[in-house]
Amino acid sequence: MNWLIFTLFAYGAYVLQAGLAPVWMLGTRTEPRLLLILLVYLAMQASPTTVAFAALALGALHDIQQTSVAGLIGPWALGYLAAGYVLLQLRNLLFRDSVFTIAIMSLVAGVFAYLVSTALYALRGVSFLLGQPVAEFSAANAMFQGFFDLLYTAVIAMPVGYLLIKSHKAWAFKGGDYHGTSRSR
């Protein structure tokens, strides 16, 4: 995979995520996760090693974007890593060039990402560990909110996934990259 293209796409996803918030945010908090969609696309195409490192990088970007605890980088990175692992396990069963695959897997992988990150946030509040709970954080609320985020992400994943699939050549997936079930392009 071409890591320069990855950097550009990750940067674009980060900027769009932050910049389009006033337009596409539903209510006060529900918004799609472009970084997650990008991870799903990569997990469908790239080699396992590439997916793992890309997941950590995209998750770290998500961590930087979150504002509940300044400087906290880790929960989302590990959440995305878990999501990447799940995607790698499932991708043999999927059509990798379908926008529906990207949409549905955004929802499935997102659940794992949210579970892991929420667990790590919740761990901060355990008294015999760090004992420093995140202000106004509730694991149940985070998962409830996450469910709507993921539904919204799945919807947005269709047009975004289409664009990503169209950009396939630029990514230069080759060598050890994945060659599984694919429809003719």
Binding site: A18, L20, A21, A60, I64, A70, G71, G74
Partner: protein
């Protein structure tokens, strides 16, 4: 899945680092998170901020709801119109008084200040409403002269101080309402002028981060609702004279007990959640 042993080790190592980092306390997080945060936000915040501004313009501002009941008769509406005009006039007069007050503060600041101090405008690119560490992200950084500790204001009201997280084109501001903070202020009656000889007192941030408070002996103070808390803290000398908030409550729970303390509640008059533009007082 991962065949290469070295790669697997690197990945496991990174995962362990992230797990440990996710359980670090907030003080140590600052050390670890500052550089990646600064790099990413310096690169991404300017275009994101532009895009957000454009997006807000496209979406348009929400129309304010009116409270006029269409079922009301003409006479009722006329009466309400007269009342509203009177109220409008009263508010204009009050505003004029506040402007005079503001001029007094600005004059005091000018006397105290030097030529090396200037105010620069900054746009609020992002905000963190967390109670434990409420911050604002500004689109101005060290290139514009912003430094750690610079006070951030709106008119004469103090919003916060620039934190150590200063990038080239962005900076982070810690709000004055951060929990466990303590400031030295002078409480001034709105009609009075500034009395630099008045004894300053300490006010503390409430755990909710919504107001400041201090306890004064019952009957030994003349603090009233509407008094203004003006910064008089040597520790924050750059913010000397700026307004921290306004006294909104004087709670006397034991009026019969002469030894009881009155709790003075001071609320900031700046709506931190809706701030769009602020001024940063930088020093050259």
């Amino acid at each position: 899945m991962l065949t290469d042993t070295t790669t697997r080790r690197v990945l496991i190592g990174l995962s362990v680092v992230f797990v440990l980092n996710s359980q670090l306390n907030t003080r140590h997080l600052k050390w670890v998170g500052t550089v990646p945060n600064a790099v990413v936000k310096t690169l991404a915040n300017p275009p994101a901020s532009l895009m957000r501004g454009a997006a807000a313009m496209v979406k348009g501002k929400p129309t304010l709801p009116t409270h006029i009941d269409p079922a009301k008769s003409d006479d009722q509406l006329r009466r309400e119109l007269v009342q509203t005009r009177r109220e409008n006039l009263r508010l204009w007069e009050e505003n004029a008084e506040l402007i005079r007050q503001l001029s007094a503060y600005q004059a005091a600041a000018a006397v105290r200040g030097s030529e090396t101090i200037r105010l620069i405008e900054a746009h609020v690119a992002d905000r963190n409403p967390s109670r434990s560490n409420p911050t604002l992200e500004l689109d101005k950084g060290s290139r514009a002269g912003v430094q750690q500790g610079n006070p951030v204001i709106v008119a004469a009201d103090l919003v916060g101080f620039v934190s150590s997280d200063v990038g080239t084109l962005r900076s982070s501001v810690q709000l004055v309402t951060v929990p466990k903070a303590r400031y030295q202020v002078r409480l001034l009656a709105p009609e009075s002028s500034i009395h630099p000889d008045d004894e300053p007192l300490y006010v503390y941030t409430d755990a909710t981060g919504e107001y400041f408070y201090c306890d004064l002996p019952d009957g030994q103070h003349d603090v009233r609702v509407g008094d203004i808390a003006s910064m008089a803290d040597d520790l924050y000398h750059q913010a000397y004279g700026y307004i921290l908030g306004e006294v909104t409550e004087v709670l006397d729970d034991h009026p019969d007990d002469p030894l009881a303390l009155d709790r003075i509640i001071i609320r900031p008059s700046v709506p931190y959640g809706r701030l769009r533009d602020v001024m940063v007082q930088v020093q050259e």
